[in-house]
Symmetry: C2
């Protein structure tokens, strides 16, 4: 009966069809145009104006996936996806997400599924060891980790915890203190400005600190600005450091920034959304030198660690600072008295009340690859990016515009912004590869970000050849 629930045996049948559909997708993903070729409105025009009154068959829906939806997909899982930052996935990541969807528990409280809370706390403790993060971030110490949807939410949570601490909790009751000021570099992520806006601090209170030639925050400028603000009776309350900026992959000097924060009693949040995963490899841990000063830290396994979107890991040194900012109790929400390690109610560690069982996919990914398997792939990506950078350096028509911190190469055509922009547009329109852009000191910049799970050397080589060939055609 079409209007009744799907039975377990029907689910078994249709589920296997969907699994085959996804397996085939990964088999052929390389053959699709990376960037969707549709025009605005194309997808909607294929959809009926109203919902059906009677139920439809799963086979009709899977057909529509092929014919109506697929033309409108930009293939983040293509090995030829080099835009923005990767959002890579993997078999174990997808299957962990599937199990989470199957159980469909809502883990707001410990009691609403103890495994959801305890596995999350435990796997995030594993990550402290895997990434060699400060011990204070462990749930068995005063800190702990929590999975957020994205680094934007992690940044907002850190901002609220810092605001709460700086105002002794008064901001919760009487609103944000207008003397609070925050600090981030010109290269920092848009989510910082967004968090300050959301939190009622106001973007005028964000001090934009200049960067050095490597696009890293200038710690002397930071220190000077803090002193000027204090002299004018502003209250510095948070500094945001970045490990791998979105624009150029730059690395802020955490050690210098952190020691200033410690001396001044300012909350130090470190956003390693993109590059944090690299710390799986001891040789790349230089990116997080000085992290012991941080009050909070986040990185995104959903970017570079083969864990399906969404999965950001936020660590705090003092979990009470976070929960003081975010706890609202009500009788109907239920209660659980313990506040010890891994037994807390995670609803008090995040903006939303409800939450999915996201640690399953992370647990599956870590176990399936093992630490050594993850390291292997990260090293391959970094090696490919370094090789790409050498090709750029060796070609007189191109210029590299930022140091290659690990997996991102920023470059431009020497013929200037217009040619570089035309080059990017032509390449993306071809559907063969997808690259994205930024501006660096007034230069229109092409970014090639290498970290898709299935990207091999041949894809990077082909990308470079396409870039060179397209440039030759345009320069004629």
């Amino acid at each position: 009966m079409p209007d009744d629930h799907m039975t377990p045996d029907e689910f078994r049948e249709y589920g296997k069809e969907v699994i085959d559909w996804i397996a085939d997708y990964y088999k052929w993903v390389e053959t699709y145009p990376v960037l969707s070729q549709v025009k605005p409105g194309d997808i909607r025009s294929g959809l009926p104006p109203s919902a059906p009154q009677k139920g439809e068959s799963m086979s009709a829906m899977l057909d529509d996936m092929d014919h109506l939806i697929m033309p409108g997909i930009t293939h983040w899982q293509s090995p030829n996806f080099f835009a923005f930052y990767p959002c890579n996935s993997s078999g174990p990541g997808i299957l962990g997400e599937l199990l989470s969807a199957g159980l469909n528990v809502q883990g707001m409280n410990w009691v609403t599924s103890p495994a959801c809370t305890e596995l999350e706390a435990h796997v995030l403790d594993w990550l402290v060891e895997m990434l060699d993060l400060p011990e204070k971030f462990r749930s068995t110490n005063a800190g702990g980790g929590v999975i957020q949807d994205t680094a934007s939410s992690a940044t907002l949570c850190a901002t609220l915890a810092a605001r709460e601490r700086a105002t002794d909790g008064q901001s919760n009751h009487v609103g944000a203190d207008h003397s609070l000021v925050a600090y981030a570099s010109h290269e920092s992520h848009s989510s910082i400005e967004k968090a300050l806006r959301i939190a009622g601090i106001g973007t005028d209170r964000m001090r934009v600190i200049p960067t050095d030639e490597s696009y890293a925050m200038d710690a002397h400028e930071l220190e000077d600005q803090i002193l000027r603000d204090k002299a004018e009776d502003f209250k510095p309350f948070i500094v945001y450091g970045t490990v791998g900026s979105t624009s150029s992959g730059s690395l802020d000097p955490l050690e210098s920034i952190g020691s200033i924060c410690q001396r001044e009693g300012i909350w130090f949040h470190v956003d390693a959304a993109m590059l944090g995963t690299a710390a799986l490899c001891p040789e790349f841990r230089y990116i997080q030198e000085g992290l012991e000063y941080a009050d909070s830290y986040c990185f995104n396994p959903h970017k570079w660690m083969f864990t399906n979107f969404d999965c950001d890991c936020l660590f705090v040194a003092d979990r009470n600072a976070l929960t003081r900012a975010l706890t609202i109790n009500r009788e109907y929400l239920g209660d659980f008295p313990s506040k010890s390690a891994g037994e807390d109610n995670y609803r008090d560690w995040q903006i939303p009340l409800g939450r999915r069982f996201r640690s399953l996919k992370l647990w599956f990914v870590i176990r399936y690859y093992g630490v050594e398997g993850l390291q292997k792939h990260i090293r391959e990506h970094v090696e490919m990016a370094q090789e790409f950078a050498r090709w750029v350096d060796d070609d007189p028509n191109f210029e590299r515009l930022a140091p290659v911190s690990l997996q991102l190469v920023c470059f431009a055509h020497t013929a200037g912004n217009d040619i570089t922009k035309s080059l990017l547009d032509s390449i993306n329109a071809s559907g063969k590869i997808y690259l994205s852009q930024t501006m660096l000191r007034g230069r229109f910049t092409i970014r090639i970000s290498i970290g898709q799970a299935n990207t091999r050397k041949r894809h990077v080589r082909a990308a470079w050849e396409l870039i060179q060939k397209t440039a030759r055609e345009l320069a004629l």
Copy 2:
């Protein structure tokens, strides 16, 4: 090789095992204790202290699902789950989520997967018709819908849009205006207080409006409070109405509240997270009378509409009011000039930057059941709740403590709070059913919330018999 990626054919094999695992789970879910019986720390104690160095097999991981994870699951998908609010799921919901995980696109911009944006805008337009919502919420008019994770985030977004409008955008730059005041009833959800705290308004600026005997907001009290606040130079900026409060299922008088908001130029947000789904049935649309006054509205298909968590639908009458509050542009985020219907960048409609392809599961659910299939199940749930209420009314040992708006029954033992609390604890400890609690005018109250997809009359009957039997045992 365990440290390499899972191949499409391996995914095919393991994926089908996972599908079988989930199908079996739904076959047997009724036999599990609903409330997990583990003690704090039990789950963690079964997990190794460190992540594995070498990759492990999928079969080891699926074994651990059975032996380590399942004892720590509270079964939200059991037909005997009557606590909080339902978080129901369905075959098409799970498979839609699986497809979303398989494609793993990140839909921050239209261009990063046009289908992700256009399907979402389109399906939310379908819902305007399906639920008979005001036409202004359509993306083809000045409004539009967007999927948020939860109603908490929807409430925060509405608050930020209202704050932006009330301050002519100034709050974005110079921080929240301390004269802003907000209004919600005593029965309103904790997420409102949380949103006001997050947004830097402060919880002291939340005016808690008294309720009438049905726990609905008293509109006269609201009006008086607004006038008092204006006389004291406060700026009323938002009123939150509730359709189905968490505590008692109460319905705020939207028409009276809305006309006050319109007259005073105050943003009116309506939270129908739980009961909104009922408007699929014309006979239940009385719950949203007056919704034409609302500036924003949300309901959760992940609660009562068989759509996997997370899926909250937020509608706004003026999409520009929302995006003015939340847009931050950067060159590296890419750009898309059009701001017309269904072609916008949804990153500007939400707190996080990145987003999943959540409309797939919603599309699948609506199509699989059809409008008539969904209506059928909603009617069944409402009928079961009404019958349960009659049983309570007919038993002199029990007392009903609130009107039954649709699917929630609030009741207590006549022997008082201590007995009622003991009764609830004993029932939940049995693992046979799971109920939750609230406080209503000083009375400890048991809530039975009926809306799990697989709940049939026999489950509700058995629940009532267990409640009666346990009460008899305790009262001895």
